[in-house]
Symmetry: C2
Subunit: 351 residues, 2 copies
C-alpha cells in the first residue's frame, strides 16, 4: 500500500519516525517542503506523485499549511483536471483519498475541519475551499510535538485560533447563546495559556490547551446555528496573497482595526458582552466597555509580541484598492456590512 507523506521540513527528526510507517508494511512516498501559505505548485506536485505511485491515502505531518496542502492533493488525485479548479470551487470536490494528520502546530484547526486554503502567488490569489471529503479521518494531537514551535509561530498560531473564535463569536444572532458562551470559554483559554506557551515552550498544560482549542474553534462546535460569516480572514487573505506574510500576524494586525470599525451603537451590546465575559470588565455603558475590550485585545496581542501595524510586516498602501475589492466579496453578510471602501479604510487605519 502506498502512502504519501506531506510534511514540514525536519519533522521526522522530532521523534516521529518514518520507520513506524514502513515497519507497518506501508510504502511511503514523501513530498517535503510544503510552504507556509501553501501553494498550488506544491499541490500539483503532490497530485502527480499520487498518480505516479498509485497512492492510497495521504498523511499530513505538520501544521495547517501542510494539512491544507495534503487535503487538496487528496482531492486533486481524484479529480480529472487542474487542482486549482478545486480551490476556486469546493463543489467540484466529489471525492478525495483518505486524509490523516499528525499535528505539530496549534493554529489553523485544519486537523478537524473540512477546509483548506491554497495560494497562487503568481496571481496574488489565496482562496479557501471546503468539502466533506476533506475532513481528516483521524488526526493525532500530541502536545509534545508542539514544544519546539518557535515564539513567532506560537504567537501567530494563537492569534489565528483567537481570530477563528472571534469570527464565530461576532454574529448578530443573539439566540446562539451556548455557542457564544463556549466561544468565551475558548477565548479565555487562549488568553490564559498563550503567554505561558511563549514563556515556557515545553509547558505541557499550555500546549495541550492551545492544541485542543485550535480544533474546537473551527470544527463547527461554536459556529453551528449561529449564522456566522467571517470577515477578518477574507481581508487577511489579501495581505498574504499580495505579500506572503504570516497569516496569524496579519489577523492580529487587522482584528483590532476591524473592531474599531465595527463598534457602534447597535453593535455595542456584543462588544460589551465580549468585554464583560472574556476580560471581566465591569460597568454599565456598553460603548465604554466595548472600547475597553478592544484595548484589551490589542494589549493581549502586544503581550504575545505580535505586530500591530501593516508597516511592521512590510506592507504599504500600494495595492489597497485591488485588495479591498477582492476581499469585499468574501465579507458579504458579515457582522457589520463591509464595502470595498470600508475595507480600504480598515487597511489604511492599520498602516
Amino acid at each position: 500500500m502506498e502512502q504519501a507523506g506531506c510534511r514540514s521540513d525536519q519533522f521526522w527528526e522530532k521523534g516521529i519516525k518514518r520507520s513506524i510507517l514502513t515497519k507497518a508494511g506501508l510504502s511511503v512516498t514523501e513530498l517535503s517542503g510544503v510552504e507556509p501559505n501553501p501553494r498550488i505548485e506544491s499541490v500539483r506536485k503532490g497530485v502527480a506523485l499520487c498518480h505516479t505511485h498509485k497512492i492510497d491515502m495521504v498523511l499530513a505531518v505538520g501544521g495547517g499549511s501542510t494539512i491544507d496542502c495534503a487535503k487538496v492533493i487528496a482531492a486533486g488525485a481524484c479529480y480529472d483536471g487542474d487542482a486549482w479548479d478545486l480551490v476556486l470551487d469546493g463543489r467540484k470536490i466529489k471525492a478525495a483519498l483518505p486524509i490523516y494528520s499528525v499535528l505539530t502546530l496549534a493554529a489553523t484547526g485544519s486537523e478537524m475541519d473540512s477546509f483548506a486554503v491554497i495560494s497562487d502567488l503568481s496571481k496574488h490569489e489565496k482562496w479557501g475551499t471546503g468539502a466533506q471529503a476533506l475532513k481528516p479521518r483521524m488526526s493525532i494531537l500530541n502536545p509534545e510535538y508542539t514544544f519546539s514551535v518557535s515564539q513567532k509561530q506560537t504567537s501567530a498560531g494563537t492569534a489565528d485560533i483567537m481570530s477563528h473564535t472571534l469570527e464565530n463569536y461576532f454574529t448578530p444572532v443573539r439566540s446562539a447563546y451556548v455557542q457564544a458562551r463556549m466561544c468565551e470559554a475558548l477565548l479565555k483559554t487562549l488568553i490564559h495559556y498563550g503567554p505561558v506557551a511563549l514563556e515556557h515552550p515545553d509547558d505541557y498544560e499550555a500546549r495541550a490547551n492551545l492544541m485542543w482549542v485550535s480544533s474546537l474553534a473551527i470544527n463547527g462546535l461554536v459556529s453551528s446555528g449561529a449564522d456566522v460569516t467571517w470577515c477578518v480572514h477574507p481581508m487577511e487573505h489579501e495581505l498574504s496573497a499580495f505579500y506572503d506574510i504570516t497569516h496569524g500576524e496579519g489577523l492580529a494586525i487587522l482584528t483590532p482595526f476591524w473592531m474599531d470599525f465595527a463598534l457602534r451603537e447597535e453593535t455595542a451590546w456584543k462588544f460589551a458582552e465580549y468585554g464583560r465575559n472574556v476580560f471581566g470588565l465591569t460597568g454599565d455603558v456598553d460603548m465604554a466597555i466595548g472600547r475597553e475590550a478592544i484595548a484589551a485585545t490589542r494589549a493581549f496581542f502586544r503581550q504575545m509580541k505580535l505586530p500591530a501595524t501593516l508597516h511592521e510586516v512590510g506592507i504599504d498602501g500600494t495595492h489597497f484598492d485591488m485588495m479591498a475589492q477582492k476581499a469585499a466579496d468574501g465579507c458579504k453578510g458579515s457582522f457589520v456590512p463591509l464595502s470595498a471602501e470600508d475595507i480600504k479604510s480598515i487597511f489604511t487605519a492599520a498602516l
Copy 2:
C-alpha cells in the same frame, strides 16, 4: 426492512407521523409504554420483538428513558443470553443493532452518548452500562418536539443536565482548563434558559439551547482529559432504585448536600471558581465564595420549582444503610473520597 420503534406514549400524535416510516418502505414493529427509569422487563420485551420480527434497526422516539431502553434492546438482540447481563457488565456488549433516536426531552444526553441506565426494581437495582455500539448512529433534535414537555419534566431535565455538567466540572485536575471553561458555558446556559422554558414552554430559543446543552454535557466534550468520576449519579441511582423517583429531582435534592460535604479548605478553590465564573460572585475568600455558590445552586433549583429534601419525594431513612453501601462502589475515585458512611451522612442531611 423491519424497524422497532421504542416510544414514549402519545408521541406519534405530536406531529411525527408513523406513516413517514411506512411510506419510506419500512415495516415497523412498535414497543410502547417504556417507563421512566426504564425497566429490564421492557428491554426483554423489546429483545423478544427483535427476534420475532427479525428487526434490522431500533428507533427510539422519546426522552432518555426511551433511548436507554432502545440501546439495551439493540444490544440484547445481538446477545445470546439475558439482557440484564449487559446492564451489569458493559464489556459483554460486543454488538448492537443500529440505533437511531428522535429526542423529545432535553435531559439525559443519551441521544449523543454510548451509555444507558436500566433498572430492575424487583431487586432495587439501577445500573449504568456503556459500549461504543450503543452510540446512536443519528439523533434528530428538534426543539419544537419539547414544547409540550411538562413543567415537572422541564425542571427535572434541566437538573439532570446541570448534574452531568457539575459531575464533569468537579474534578481535581486543574490542567483541564478549557474543559472547565466549557462546563461553565453550559452551566450559564442552563441557568439562563431553565426558568425561561418553565415560564414559556414554547420558547424556541430556550428549548433549543437546553436541548443542545443536554447533548454537549455528556458526549465527552467536557470530560475527556479531565479524569472525571461521577458521584452524585451513583447516589441518586439508589434513590430511584428503591423509590422509583424522578431521576432529575433526586439529583437536584442531593447535589447541594454533596456540595456541603465536599467544600473544605483543599477544595475551596474549585467551588470559588464555580461561584466566580458561573454566578459572577466576587470576593477574595475562596471558602466564603464557595458557600455562596452552594446557596446560589440551591436558589436556582428552588427557582426551577424542584424539591429540596428527600421527605418531599416520600423518602425516609429506612434503607439508607443498604443504599449507601451500594452507592459507595460507584463513587470510588470521585472529587472527594466518599465512604458508605459519608454517603449515609449526605442522605441524612438531605432528609
